[in-house]
Subunit: 333 residues, 2 copies
């Protein structure tokens, strides 16, 4: 059964059916984007994400505008993880009869406004009917210079593990929307925004790529434990995360208290953060962090890549816990 | 309501939200592919199609293998219509819990075998869960030389209208599958194959593109009346189709008799033919037809582009009928 195999097990199975590649293919299945050489010094990046009603979004919890914007944002985040500049978007949508044109225009406005912010052209797609749930598939192309392309698999032993923003906010925001009557409290606004209006970290990705000090990167979509696990596995390394370095805001703490939840669970396994996780050469970290900060963004050290294959969390108490990839798996959810 | 607006009305509405384009964009929404200049003499083609269970396919009428192959074929057909060579495919799929891994592997085998036939690399996609229907979205990239790119809008008054294969076969095949207990009769095999295993006419598209005699092309996915209508509208022309030139086989005639259907309805409005329709300079038609025939394919003259904006059908009796675009519209279906 698919449930037993899990999403990544299934992807492994089908990948084995799809393994012939042309010489121009730098990366196929298994990175944030497919990476294709189109000239001696330029690469084409392609990424795609499918969002299904009632699986990825609920029309009673979100506006059409925010659903559209998020469907694009998650793809821009993949381009960011490869250090690229996004260029074009293609929007396929299956629409049940019950959606009206005004709602759909609001959805497309959400897509096109975010696209305009990143100078992305919407060049096509497909519109069709669905008998039950709405399904939105967006594909985004981007470009990078050949020597400014970030992969998942380049981390070195000793590299600093850094993230470009808060973790767990999106998961907390979703829980608040679902289970709290106080979700409109001003203090929770950053958590709700993280879930409803994630901002892809394209600028940070470009800075990391140009720095020549970033050995690997990924965007955190499935959760820190899962996505850090991808980088570890593909780089042949382990990782140590320090609890005291993980950003923990008052908003997150208060939400956890109100919902009787463990904020560390959100941080490690929540997913949908859409911040970048990067492996940065330690001797150059200060310089890279300065460049990111000067651009008005964040780069927060949370740990180190180490030899071996295990991921560990060092608690403030000094106790050591294993981290297992427990982020989002669509077929086991 | 979406139903009143129709698929093409809706596309017009959302296109107006997506009209900013970079200088590198040769075609955005409104052709078979988006066409992007990536070097002085080369264009990147991108096309995408979404197939929804119970709207585009029925798992009790088709094998997983044929559903997968067709989901790719319809995209390769769009690349063919632009005269391109397909290169990469991206497969997004939303899977309900009830599908098992064996079935899904057969689906991917259908995709990957057809991909291998056309030397297309499957480089990624997305796998996710659906609560009800399966949804498959495939996107295909391709390349053309800048001076060998075919558009919908270049037809000239007097150009020959030619198609690269039979029309109406797919619609007849679907009707047989649905309503005939004799659908396994050998005579019907080409009709069923046209519906279940359409072969994209990539080779013909390349010959047309290289000929420098093809002024416009489209693939017939929605139906002759609808897709010829697109070329007429975008070229500012009308068209005359001669009934006596339309290929009408014994298989199609027999299926129509058995199902009490009008074969001309299938030919004009059936859709899903995935043959190419081309506007070819009349003085070079014989040469182009010879090149296509020598490659083992067909090119059948069915009429002429004419000035004006109307599409006419000249019956064998000499009577003249208007042709209105009545092919497939997902929201009016």
């Amino acid at each position: 059964m698919l449930k037993d195999l899990g999403e990544f097990g299934f992807i492994d199975r089908i990948s084995s059916l799809c393994k012939t590649h042309g010489n121009d293919v730098i990366r196929g299945i298994g990175d944030d984007c497919a990476i294709i050489k189109i000239s001696p010094d330029e690469n084409l990046l392609i990424t795609t994400d499918m969002m299904v009603e009632r699986v990825h979004f609920l029309v009673n919890l979100q506006t059409a505008h925010s659903i559209g914007a998020k469907a694009l944002a998650v793809n821009l985040s993949d381009i960011a993880a490869c250090g690229g500049t996004p260029k074009q978007a293609f929007v396929s949508i299956a629409i049940p009869d019950c959606f009206d044109v005004i709602w759909l225009e609001d959805l497309y406005r959400g897509i096109s406004e975010l696209a305009a912010e990143f100078e992305v052209d919407i060049l096509g797609g497909d519109t069709t009917r669905s008998l039950t749930d709405m399904v939105i598939n967006i594909l985004v192309t981007g470009f990078t210079k050949n020597n400014e392309t970030l992969f998942r698999n380049g981390a070195h032993d000793g590299d600093i593990i850094a993230v470009s923003g808060h973790l767990g906010y999106s998961a907390a925001g979703l829980e608040l929307l679902r289970n709290s009557s106080n979700s409109s409290d001003q203090i929770y606004a950053p958590l709700l925004d993280a879930h409803l209006k994630p901002k892809p970290h394209v600028g940070v990705g470009r800075i990391l790529a140009r720095s020549q000090a970033c050995n690997a990167a990924i965007d955190i979509s499935d959760g820190l434990s899962s996505d850090l696990g991808h980088v570890c596995k593909q780089s042949g390394l382990g990782a140590t995360i320090f609890e005291e370095m993980l950003p923990l805001s008052e908003a997150l703490t208060q939400a956890a208290l109100e919902l009787s939840a463990d904020p560390m669970e959100w941080i490690l396994n929540g997913g949908e953060d859409y911040v970048l996780l990067a492996a940065i050469r330690s001797e150059e970290f200060a310089k890279v962090k300065l460049a990111v900060t000067e651009a008005g963004a964040d780069l927060i050290e949370i740990g180190r890549f180490v030899s071996g294959s295990e991921m560990k969390l060092i608690k403030k108490s000094g106790m050591v816990f294993d981290i297992f990839p427990k982020g989002w798996d669509h077929f086991r959810a």
